[in-house]
């Protein structure tokens, strides 16, 4: 601003001068910025120093991080979060379509589904699934009016800790996904559907080729955030003894008598998994943002990966609506 004004004054005062004799310019001195920068850096350094002087056995952390239990836990977190998120997306799309259907029964069922699975705490849902044998000791799925059974098994065998955690996480998340997908579908200009209809496209084609791809711009950012929350929510499965990272850390802390170290080891792993998910989210968002798709392709991959780690999704949500 100040620089601009200076330039205008110079223009009016010296309108007859040659362009070769432009005046030198002085930018504003931003002392406040420099000072706050120094203070923050100093604070971070002090914090790091105090932690390094605390009573932490740093040497044991890498050993714990690479122990079999912890690696199993990491794999289980990835597996659980991924499968739960995929199931949630599939169910979420289905429930969202039911919610937008002209059939009032479907609309009502979809509403009730969302109301129930979003309303109950995930921890309670996991515990309920884990104890389902108390309601149904045996689970039998047969073909009606025949004696053929597709599944006939004791509930305790069928609903392992993994399955209980998966059901708890996926069904809760699917209720959120239904809302996200519904918002995404509603965000697409109705004129798009009409244009596709006037070309003779069928409802399925319109959804797949026209509406969903555009809804993705609205669906992907919150889904990415939810997927990252999902990774962290897998820690709830530790209460039913499922060996994910938190349970692994608990096992290690009692084995090595090193509680804080085991929690640090777990924390590092969570940050690693979440960071990788962040990178994935960034690229997914770019892919579904057609307006920016043809730009920025030449930028180095590494720069973009780096950018993905510090670009908050919220800011990109604004760009989407513009």
């Amino acid at each position: 601003m100040a620089v601009d004004m200076g330039a205008t004054e110079a223009d009016t005062m010296t309108a007859d001068r040659q362009p070769t004799t432009l005046m030198p310019k002085v930018a504003i001195k931003r002392w406040g910025r420099a000072l706050s920068g120094v203070l923050v850096v100093a604070g971070v350094v002090l914090l790091g120093y105090s932690i390094s002087r605390g009573q932490v056995d740093w040497a044991i952390i890498p050993t714990q991080m690479t122990s079999d239990t912890m690696l199993e836990g990491v794999w289980n977190v990835v597996k659980l979060a991924f499968v739960a998120q995929v199931i949630a997306v599939v169910i979420g799309v289905g429930v969202a379509l039911m919610r937008l259907s002209p059939n009032p029964v479907l609309r009502w069922v979809a509403f009730a589904y969302t109301w129930l699975f979003r309303g109950l705490p995930v921890l309670v849902q996991i515990l309920l699934w884990y104890n389902i044998a108390l309601i149904y000791p045996r689970i039998t799925i047969g073909i009606p009016f025949t004696t053929v059974d597709i599944v006939d098994q004791s509930s305790n065998v069928l609903v392992t800790a993994f399955v209980a955690a998966l059901l708890g996480l996926a069904l809760n998340e699917s209720a959120y996904m239904a809302e996200i997908v519904r918002a995404g579908l509603n965000s697409v200009d109705p004129g798009q559907k009409e244009a596709a209809q006037s070309l003779g496209m069928t409802p399925g084609q319109i959804l797949r080729r026209v509406v969903l791809p555009q809804a993705m711009r609205v669906i992907v950012p919150p889904t990415g955030n939810n997927a990252i929350n999902m990774i962290k929510a897998t820690s709830l499965a530790s209460v039913i003894g499922f060996v994910e990272v938190t349970k692994a850390a608990q096992n290690l802390s009692s084995r090595d008598l090193a509680i804080i170290e085991a929690l640090f080891a777990a924390s590092v792993w969570y940050m690693v998994i979440v960071s990788i998910a962040n990178v994935g989210q960034y690229f997914l968002e770019r892919r579904y943002n057609a307006s920016t798709r043809d730009g920025g392709g030449s930028r180095a991959l590494l720069t973009r990966v780096g950018k993905s780690l510090y670009t908050p999704p919220v800011r990109r949500a604004e760009e989407i609506t513009s």
Partner: protein, 256 residues
């Protein structure tokens, strides 16, 4: 039924709640003719146009396009309502151009034009793209084939939309105020494309406020008011020598 009649509307009525917006529209459009619909805002022009390809359902009446009752199948003198898939097949033969273009923003210009033939008619992708190129050349946009629609001016987008509709080789083209959303200096290019299309023998039903287009290109001008056709005839009759006071009022306002 006469082979040379492409669109025949019989007693079309449409209500929104208690508000009757179409109160019995009868209209025939012959093969290769251009009919321009005029009328004040709210007269029901868009609603009627959208009934022709059943983007809007009607409460009474029938619309036949090239011998088929739109939205229905005739069995022994009875009309049975069609399911979405069969309706889609009927729509594939009716082109429509919208006021706000409605191009697919996530596809390039070429993909926009090739989408219908590939998805709906099962034309091989390569062939569809070749046809799309030819159509885009015809509307003067050869250079823009690989752009995304957002990079194009309104006039260019509307010409792509016309090419997209033409790619389906429709029996009739419906235009709903195709130039109303354009800057004045871009209107001419779109009207020129439409004029050429008319000269090439396309059957067209056009809602527009462009009087020059109506005078020079239309074979018939139809004036709608309050959901009815109150005057119709050659451009010379309806625009040059309007009989109904509402028509005169309207023409005085648009030419002012």
């Amino acid at each position: 039924m006469n082979d040379d009649i492409i669109v025949r509307a019989i007693g079309v009525r449409k209500r929104y709640g208690t508000n009757e917006v179409l109160s019995g529209i009868d209209l025939t459009v012959e093969r290769g003719k251009v009919v321009v619909l005029l009328g004040a805002s709210g007269a029901g022009k868009s609603t009627f146009l959208r009934c022709i390809n059943r983007l809007e359902t009607m409460d009474e009446g029938e619309i036949w396009v090239d011998g088929e009752p739109i939205g229905y199948r005739e069995v022994d003198g009875t009309l049975h309502e069609l399911r979405e898939h069969a309706l889609a097949a009927q729509r594939a033969d009716i082109g429509m151009v919208f006021q706000r273009f409605n191009l697919f923003p996530h596809r390039t210009v070429l993909e926009n034009v090739a989408e219908g033939p590939v998805q709906v008619k099962g034309v091989p992708r390569k062939e569809a793209r070749q046809t799309a190129r030819e159509l885009l050349e015809r509307v003067g946009l050869s250079e823009k084939v690989d752009q995304y629609p957002a990079r194009l001016s309104g006039g260019q987008q509307q010409r792509v939309a016309i090419a997209r509709a033409l790619a389906m080789k429709p029996r009739v083209m419906l235009f709903d105020e195709p130039t109303s959303a354009l800057d004045p200096e871009l209107v001419g290019d779109v009207l020129q494309v439409m004029t050429e299309l008319a000269r090439d023998g396309m059957t067209m039903v056009v809602v527009t406020h462009e009087m020059s287009f109506a005078k020079e290109v239309a074979d018939e001008v139809v004036f709608m008011d309050g959901g009815r056709i109150i005057e119709s005839g050659s451009p010379g009759q309806v625009i040059g020598n309007p009989q109904h006071p509402r028509t005169r009022q309207f023409l005085a306002r648009v030419s002012a």
